[in-house]
């Protein structure tokens, strides 16, 4: 298994996202990254904002044309009703039509998926969104329309209730809120990743021996890969020189490397190192890092 690239990600990006594995119906495990609490809150806030605008948009023509001269009570009750219908249709419609993403989720880059890797069923979407009413909208509505000045038991209860549901995603492993529990879903982050060119050099100007290549493992190789993929700048040039010197020292490379060939040297070393490590891995002797362990140290 290539756990090395995950470790390299952790090293390079500071922290690693919580990961889960789902098994596709074809039997291939695929890694998914759980969405952060902050991302989900952002997505939800965007959705609520859009919902608010939509409700007003539906409501205004109704009031101006259909119910001219109605009482304020009519206006309030209709806006409540439209709000209810719009927000439920909004979430369910978009999660169905956009394969588990509402506009807010899409903006943040989140998706709803089935927790066990099966297809995302409409019933799961309906279940996870109906509960949204209980988790957020009803208690929020009650709190917002609260006109009293001093706290009473009822509002203490509502506050506890909001806290209970708000705390749910923090107390389970998969960061599920109530609706996810009932629907059997979870929310993942799904950034698009691009495929960059292959760094492999064809012609070998520098030739490395096996003991020299044995100095490093997959982890170091992938950190080097990241460095080589960086956009060129003065800073990277300085880093290249620094890394070249370190490698030369470590593997005991004594032949001179001209400064203008620094990148070429690194790329060739990368190529030779990758060829060596991939061959070793195929033969059942994976090298996770320079300490030579088969599995990465944690």
């Amino acid at each position: 298994m290539t756990l090395a690239h995950e470790r390299a990600t952790e090293f390079l990006e500071g922290s690693r996202r919580q990961q889960r594995t789902i098994v596709t119906p074809e039997g291939v495990p695929v890694t998914v990254e759980l969405a952060d609490h902050g991302e989900r809150l952002t997505a939800f806030t965007i959705d609520v904002f859009i919902w608010f605008l939509l409700t007003i948009l539906v409501y205004l023509p109704l009031v101006f044309f259909a119910l001219r001269g109605g009482s304020a009570l009519i206006a309030v009750s209709i806006v409540l009703f439209i709000g209810f219908v719009v927000r439920n249709l909004y979430f369910i419609h978009f999660e169905l039509a956009w394969r588990g993403a509402t506009p807010g989720k899409r903006f943040v880059g989140l998706r709803v998926i089935d927790r066990r890797g099966g297809p995302l069923l409409p019933s799961a979407i309906v279940a996870r969104n109906l509960t949204r009413e209980v988790e957020a909208f009803i208690p929020l509505g009650l709190l917002l329309t609260w006109s009293g000045t001093h706290p009473d038991w009822e509002h203490l209860f509502i506050a506890i209730w909001l806290l209970f549901f708000a705390a749910l995603p923090f107390v389970n492993r998969d960061r599920m809120r109530g609706g996810d529990l009932i629907g059997g879903t979870m929310v993942i982050a799904l950034p698009k990743r691009a495929l960059s060119g292959d760094l492999v050099e064809r012609a070998a100007q520098y030739v490395f021996t096996e003991p020299q290549l044995r100095a490093y493992g997959a982890f170091e190789l992938q950190v080097l890969e990241e460095l080589l993929r960086r956009p060129k700048s003065v800073e990277t040039g300085r880093l290249f020189t620094e890394v070249r010197d370190k490698i030369c020292h470590k593997i005991g490379w004594t032949a001179p490397v001209p400064p203008e060939d620094t990148e070429l040297f690194l790329r060739e070393f990368y190529t030779a190192q990758r060829a060596f490590l991939e061959r070793e891995q195929l033969f059942g002797k994976p090298r996770a890092d320079k300490y030579g362990g088969a599995q990465p140290r944690t």
Partner: protein, 355 residues
């Protein structure tokens, strides 16, 4: 990305005669398949932006083939390649393709038809014992409320919140109740549908969804809510009983109450299904058990919301139009028969046909 791609343009290698060329298996592997990955990526991009309809028939047929090819590429790459960028890309590509290929089916018309013809009655039948418990809770509440308030009418104002009482209480006279409540004149279209039906719908849905969602709190709040609904009803019943209006009140209630109370009890039944799976998960883990049965409970709750629509329509619109007690009883009875027949018999063949 363009900046990163820019650094990847290979530096023209200074070919030196006599040196062996390095051939990496992973590199060759990538060269052979990269075109199909790019093809798949372009298809997914379009599906993600504009939906599956953006693809032609030919492309739709290609999508699952390319998806399986990408999955197999991922499996191979995991064993032979150490190119981090490639591995991350393939993981991401396979996952995005998976979500495209196994996304929810969005044939709205067929989905809705199946919901009414099969899924909803089946979900309700599966929750029949839970429904019975919820109904018993309501009945217990009604009995308690009635017994309390029939002795001492001050209980009415204690049990019934003023927003629901609408001016009715111990001080109401028989004539008040008869003329202003049971046989009140129809207030007109805007008032009855715009305000009354709406308010009822909002209030009932809030109560119902509460008893559904709070099933997650082991169902205790669901049961309490049912008893409380019963208490309110029982108190009202006592109020009318003491003024010798029992039959008229029951008629006034039955026209919408059958639908409304069934819906409320269904919400609670859905909540109790969740509570049961949480407390007694059986063969599965709690989380799995919840996911398995929660969706069905969700269906029940959606059905109950729709029933509340019907109830609000009957209550806000039709109740004051049908100003005779036998007529009201007739509608109430008819609705009871219809709901029972629907939930008991609809889609049963489909039930049997399923494994």
């Amino acid at each position: 990305m363009s900046t990163i791609l820019a650094t990847d343009t290979p530096i023209p290698p200074a070919k030196i005669a006599g040196r062996p060329e390095l051939v990496l298996k992973s590199s060759e592997f990538r060269k052979g398949r990269e075109a199909s990955w790019r093809d798949l990526e372009a298809l997914i991009d379009r599906v993600e932006r504009r939906g599956a309809r953006a693809l032609s028939l030919d492309e739709l047929q290609r999508l699952p083939i390319l998806y399986r090819a990408a999955l197999s590429s991922l499996s191979v790459a995991r064993t032979i390649a150490l190119d981090r960028n490639l591995l991350l890309y393939l993981e991401n590509l396979a996952l995005r393709a998976f979500l495209c290929v196994y996304g929810p089916r969005v044939d709205a018309r067929a989905g809705i038809a199946a919901f009414f013809a099969r899924d909803l009655p089946a979900a309700v039948r599966a929750a029949r014992w839970h429904f019975l418990i919820a109904a018993v809770c309501i009945i217990v509440g009604v009995a308690a409320g009635f017994l309390l308030a029939v002795q001492d009418e001050s209980w009415v104002s204690t049990l019934v919140p003023s927003s629901l009482a609408g001016g009715r209480g111990p001080s109401s006279t028989r004539a008040d109740l008869y003329n202003k409540e049971i046989f009140a004149p129809w207030p007109g279209f805007a008032e009855s549908f715009g305000v009354f039906a709406n308010m009822l719908f909002s209030h009932n849905t809030a109560v119902g969804l509460l008893s559904f969602g709070l099933g997650l709190a082991a169902g205790v709040p669901s049961v309490m809510l049912m008893v409380y609904q019963g208490l309110v009803l029982g108190a009202f019943l006592a109020l009318h009983y003491n003024r010798d209006l029992t039959v008229d009140f029951l008629g006034w209630l039955s026209i919408h109450g059958v639908t409304e109370l069934t819906a409320i009890a269904l919400f609670a039944a859905a909540g109790l299904v969740i509570a049961e799976k949480l407390l007694f998960p059986g063969r599965y883990s709690r989380i799995e058990s919840l996911a398995l049965y929660g969706r069905q409970a969700g269906y029940t709750a959606v059905g109950a919301v729709l029933m509340l629509f019907v109830a609000a329509f009957l209550e806000g619109g039709c109740r004051q139009l049908v100003a005779s007690t036998p007529g009201r009883f007739a509608i109430g009875f008819a609705s009871a028969v219809l709901w029972f027949a629907y939930f008991r018999y609809a889609g049963r063949n489909a039930d049997d046909a399923r494994p």
